[in-house]
């Protein structure tokens, strides 16, 4: 139907997440009608990112300088560590501008049905860090999904014996939410996690 090189481009684009055959076709033709310079810039950006981005030796986040800017920032608290699932979660936490501690990126969660076990995550690196650095509190900020919970429980089993304070982020109603529209499980959690009002 298409020239072989176009078909191949469509096929490669179709391998990207969330891109179906129709979208792949649309992207392919968009690229074909762009100038050579624009296409080259895209290719270079992909290759550069792929070559330069590595895991930070400390937090395991993706970075192009090692240690990453967060780990080498002297103004951040060294005793506080937040464990997250992936680099996007670090970005989300940074957007709130409230957290001034360190991070550790697991790059996934324990998901038995997808065949992802503890050894596939950056857990060994986390334990190594705990033995080298003086961490006083660990916040586990995995998602409130079954997999996120399982990962939190697994980490708790490993970390509790080390005598480090271990906390889990709160769950409950979203800001601006509506009790009437919230699901039962969230409401149960919100009740459990209620707090005394300080005057």
């Amino acid at each position: 139907m298409y020239a072989r090189s176009i078909a191949q481009l469509i096929e490669e684009l179709g391998k990207l997440p969330g891109i179906g055959p129709k979208s792949a076709q649309r992207l392919a033709f968009h690229l074909l009608f762009q100038s050579k310079e624009e296409v080259k810039a895209l290719i270079e950006a992909i290759v550069k990112a792929k070559e330069e981005v590595k895991y930070c030796s400390q937090c395991q986040n993706l970075t192009d300088i090692n240690p990453c800017p967060i780990c080498s920032d002297l103004n951040r608290e060294k005793w506080l560590l937040c464990v997250v699932e992936n680099p996007q979660d670090v970005a989300a936490m940074e957007r709130i501008r409230e957290y001034r501690g360190q991070y550790h990126v697991l790059h996934g969660v324990i998901s038995p049905m997808d065949g992802v076990g503890p050894e596939d995550l950056k857990i060994r690196e986390l334990l190594q860090r705990l033995s080298n650095q003086d961490i006083k509190e660990i916040i586990i900020a995995t998602n409130p999904t079954v997999e996120g919970e399982a990962t939190a429980m697994y980490l708790a089993k490993l970390i509790k014996p080390l005598g480090i304070k271990l906390t889990r982020i709160a769950r409950g109603l979203p800001e601006g939410g509506d009790i009437d529209y919230v699901d039962q499980l969230t409401l149960v959690r919100a009740l459990e996690g209620r707090r005394e009002i300080d005057n």
């Binding site: 038995p112 065949g115 999904t145 079954v146 979203p174 499980l185």
Partner: protein, 258 residues
Amino acid sequence: MVGLYRTRAVVLRVKDFGEADRLVTLLTAESGKVQALAKGVRRPKSKLAGGISIFSLGDFQLWQGKSLDGIKQVEIIESYRLLRENIEKMAYASYVCELTDQLQGERDADSGVFSLVIHTLAALQDYEDLDLVLGIFLLRVLSIGGYLPEINVCVSCGSVVPIGSSLVLSASGGGILCADCIRGEKSASAEALSLLRFLVNADYRLAGRIKAGSVNYQVVSLLMNYVTYYLEKRLKSSDFLDIIREEKGGFKSVNGSK
């Protein structure tokens, strides 16, 4: 409204789909396994979110689509919270759900499997002896599928295997072997044979009462191997279940010969 229907179902599997949707595998009471799309469920204010997490039992309102049905509403009946809050229980429940997902064909109505699964999830939540619950589940599942191993006579020579013999379960033979017909097969203790025979007719209420300890571990390991043979593939969740079971202090005597 046209094309809407209600059904009671348990969530076997949840997978991210597209930008904010999830693809949900439901085991329904009326129409067997159904794949349904939960639209927008990954957005923080989605009303569906809590109801479509794995293991939960609920009343679902679905709309019929051309290739996929969609979830319009869900009301949770039982969320089996302990299964999510206890990592051991979670590992067992994941195995149960993955096995059910593999064995059930789509739209293959079989209410026997549905009630078995919800009773199994409830038993995993309520009882401590998870191996015993899994053992009973595996035997029931094999029985429904027509793969129940022969446990009274030797599948090779047909002679009755007496009480007190060690247990040798041959997956390719479809049952146990007697002492004369063992050819390099792994064997487990005589107690394991008695327990296996007992579990075939047991129900979950017993799981709170029997104390079988390491014998359970042996029998369940053998049954898991047996199931793997018939599925012709290893379930992904079995790796994690193995880690959990070994950590719990199971004895690896199954691997040794007599």
